[in-house]
């Protein structure tokens, strides 16, 4: 066995086992040529080290514990989770502007921690910009108000009529949709791309899932512009496609290089130039031709943590991204189904100083239509979280005496229950002449946990038996509604890959839900 350059480098860097080192030394002793080679490597390494050593060393006295204190003080974790949670659930949803001093102080201080220090000149210029913004706002508020009145007048129907119209079969809106009928498989599930691919494929087959959803983080695939890391995705997507499972990729998270210089890098955000994203998704559509059937363009764009920070949520920006992405995907591969980004079901929340943290998803969908949404999606993506509402519960009338999590009952809103957002989106689509388009539920599910971490309190109200029952009911409901396409359950295997995290609360491996879905799939097979 010879000694190559890589071995010599490892020898030089002290990265060999004792045995290997001795072997290299034997070779070196007998070969002047090898010794020359080693000497050259050593010179190169020395040169690099000298050069890097010359870069300014640290002069200040350093203390990691002080740095940690600085970090924590800026993150400001002080108030206990419960106090926060209580504030959250007791608030009145009818208020548009919510000001809870302690929460906002926390969020703001969290944001502040990453702002680079600025010189006085920059501060001044920021101050000037702020004042200009205030002036512009004062001048435009009347116009915005008028726009709002027009927007809402044109759409909000009396609540009673919403249910009636949705429930009645046989009307124009229930025409079998084009995109839904092309692909018969109606059930999908989100899977960890880092999980055990072969085992997961077996699970999907056993459970009758025809679709798999992966979240593809753009920033992980193209961390540096033009430098792509496809290897792992080639492997995973190839494996599922080979077994005839349809793949939907939700492509999210812009890399820092693509983002506006001034947005909040603590959170995810849209690219500064939609063309950079369009180019990326087109590459995906082209690369995975015949393997990836659908691409979801972004998600939760109505939330500050996916829109580049507080005050940056803007339906117009998103629609511009979608339009370019749609055209680019279709140009690359016209068979790829373009799914519009699922919004997060939410209530509008505005911070008086910095702007919106969240926009009500129904309102946001309206704004998307107002900004040229129509014609730039094949199917509408939707998230339909169930929290602690049963699958078919009506959010307007849902009651549960025993529930410890009171949000859905005490602060009624469509976003608490599974059917809420879906029926509301359907109404908006009908009002905009998109009755023949289908809604794909790209994420839904129920969490179960004995003592969930804060933020997931509703999971304590749910049992595994309920989880199983509600998932089956949701899929049966979907099968009866032609305007609903594939529904992607969140999730299969995060219980294995991310145990002890909230992701695991939704995982159906080794739960009654798994058995119930297997049962469902078998029954369907028999019918055929």
């Amino acid at each position: 066995m010879g000694v190559d350059e890589a071995k010599l480098a490892a020898y030089l860097d002290g990265e060999l086992s004792e045995e290997e080192r001795e072997r290299v030394e034997e070779h070196l002793a007998g070969s002047p040529w090898l010794r020359d080679k080693l000497e050259r490597l050593r010179q190169e390494a020395d040169q690099v080290n000298q050069a890097l050593d010359s870069l300014s060393p640290v002069s200040a006295v350093f203390s990691a514990s002080q740095a940690l204190k600085r970090f924590q003080s800026q993150l400001s974790l002080a108030p206990g989770p419960n106090s926060l949670a209580d504030e959250v659930y007791s608030r009145d949803h009818s208020q548009l502007v919510w000001e809870s001093p302690s929460l906002w102080a926390e969020i703001r201080s969290g944001l502040k921690s990453v702002r680079p220090r600025r010189g006085q000149a920059m501060q001044d210029s920021i101050q000037r910009k702020r004042m200009t913004l205030v002036a512009v706002l004062i001048l435009t508020i009347p116009a915005i108000t008028v726009a709002f009145i027009l927007l809402f007048n044109s759409y909000i129907p009396p609540l009673g009529s919403v249910r009636l119209r949705v429930a009645q079969p046989g009307q124009q809106m229930l025409t079998p949709p084009a995109a839904g009928s092309i692909l018969p498989a109606q059930r999908g599930i989100q899977v960890d791309p880092l999980g055990d691919t072969q085992a997961n494929i077996e699970h999907l087959k056993a459970l009758g899932f025809g679709w798999v959803k992966f979240q593809m983080a753009w920033k992980d695939v193209e961390p540096i512009q033009g430098d792509y890391r496809w290897a792992r995705w080639d492997e995973v997507i190839g494996a599922y496609a080979e077994k005839g499972i349809y793949v939907m990729l939700s492509i999210v998270k812009a890399p820092d290089w693509a983002r506006p210089v001034d947005d909040d890098k603590n959170v995810e955000g849209l690219p500064a130039d939609p063309a950079t994203y369009a180019e990326f998704v087109a590459r995906v559509a082209n690369r995975y031709r015949g393997q990836v059937q659908a691409i979801e363009v972004w998600d939760e764009q109505n939330m500050w943590y996916k829109a580049g920070g507080v005050g940056r949520i803007d339906a117009k920006t998103y629609v511009a991204l979608l339009q370019q992405a749609y055209q680019a995907i279709k140009a690359a591969n016209e068979d790829t189904i373009v799914v519009s980004g699922a919004m997060a079901p939410a209530v509008s929340v505005t911070d008086a100083t910095n702007g919106a943290l969240a926009l009500d998803d129904i309102d946001y969908l309206q704004r998307m239509y107002a900004n040229g949404f129509k014609g730039y999606f094949d199917v509408l993506g939707a998230y339909a979280p169930g929290n602690n509402c049963p699958a078919l519960a009506d959010w307007r009338t849902f009651e549960d005496e025993s529930a410890s999590f009171r949000g859905p009952v005490e602060t009624r809103h469509h976003s608490w229950c599974f059917l809420g957002p879906l029926e509301a989106y359907r109404e908006v689509m009908l009002a905009n002449g998109d009755g023949d388009k289908v809604i794909w539920v790209t994420q839904f599910g129920w969490a179960v946990a004995d003592s969930p971490v804060p933020g997931y309190e509703y999971a304590a109200d749910n049992t595994y038996k309920e989880q199983a029952q509600w998932i089956v009911e949701a899929y049966r409901w979907a099968a009866d509604h032609a305007w609903i396409g594939p529904m992607f359950l969140w999730n299969l295997d995060y219980g294995l890959t991310a145990p002890d995290t909230p992701f695991a609360y939704f995982s159906i491996l080794d739960t009654p839900a798994y058995d119930a879905l297997m049962e469902m799939s078998r029954a369907e097979e028999k019918e055929k």
Partner: protein, 193 residues
């Protein structure tokens, strides 16, 4: 479901379990100093390096859900240093782009904004700037590899950081060193013995 209601998702990042907090603090105390030193060298500005280090650890903090599930610590440190070096390196390149922009336009256009800090931006005279310039001109992966190795990461950690097989680290490192040394000798011909 990642989020059920807006408010939960906002507060969730701020509320981690005690176990996760403890793990985070441990990682912070063990790795912060090295991250800070690497960024100091790379950026040549302590204040900027400090802010950037804090930002790097904020990223770690936001990813603790996944980090916690990762049993192999090499992968965690690999990830951490990759993020740090990547941030620092991007800042270096951005600085260089700005510098060349100013050089091009400042003379032609009287209203061009003055560079934020001329001493830092148009560094052409001093050695440190030359070394940073060489790094900024290199293939990013090579530059990052050199910086991480210089910070003392093992081959195993480097492999995890670059997501390559451990066996590939030796050849990649050799290649990167050779490229750097060649550029270095061109820049400083008198240093060649």
């Amino acid at each position: 479901m990642k989020t059920s209601q807006y408010t939960l998702s906002q507060v969730r990042p701020l509320m981690k379990s005690h176990q996760v907090e403890a793990l985070f603090e441990d990682l912070f105390l063990r790795h912060y100093e090295l991250v800070y030193h690497v960024l100091c060298r790379l950026l040549g500005d302590e204040a900027e390096a400090e802010d950037m280090s804090q930002r790097v650890f904020l990223k770690l903090y936001h990813n603790m859900d996944r980090i916690q599930a990762q049993k192999d610590e090499t992968k965690v440190t690999g990830w951490l240093y990759r993020v740090a070096v990547n941030e620092g390196y991007n800042a270096l390149r951005a600085r260089r782009r700005r510098a060349s922009w100013y050089e091009k336009f400042a003379r032609l256009w009287p209203f061009a904004p003055s560079p934020p800090d001329p001493a830092q931006v148009i560094e052409t005279q001093d050695t440190q700037a030359q070394v940073r310039g060489i790094l900024a001109d290199m293939n990013p992966r090579d530059a990052e590899l050199l910086l991480m190795r210089h910070a003392g990461l093992s081959y195993k950690e480097l492999a995890a950081a670059l997501r390559v097989a451990p066996g590939s680290v030796g050849p990649l490192l050799t290649q990167a060193r050779r490229t750097f040394a060649r550029k270095y000798r061109t820049t400083f011909p008198d240093m060649e013995e």
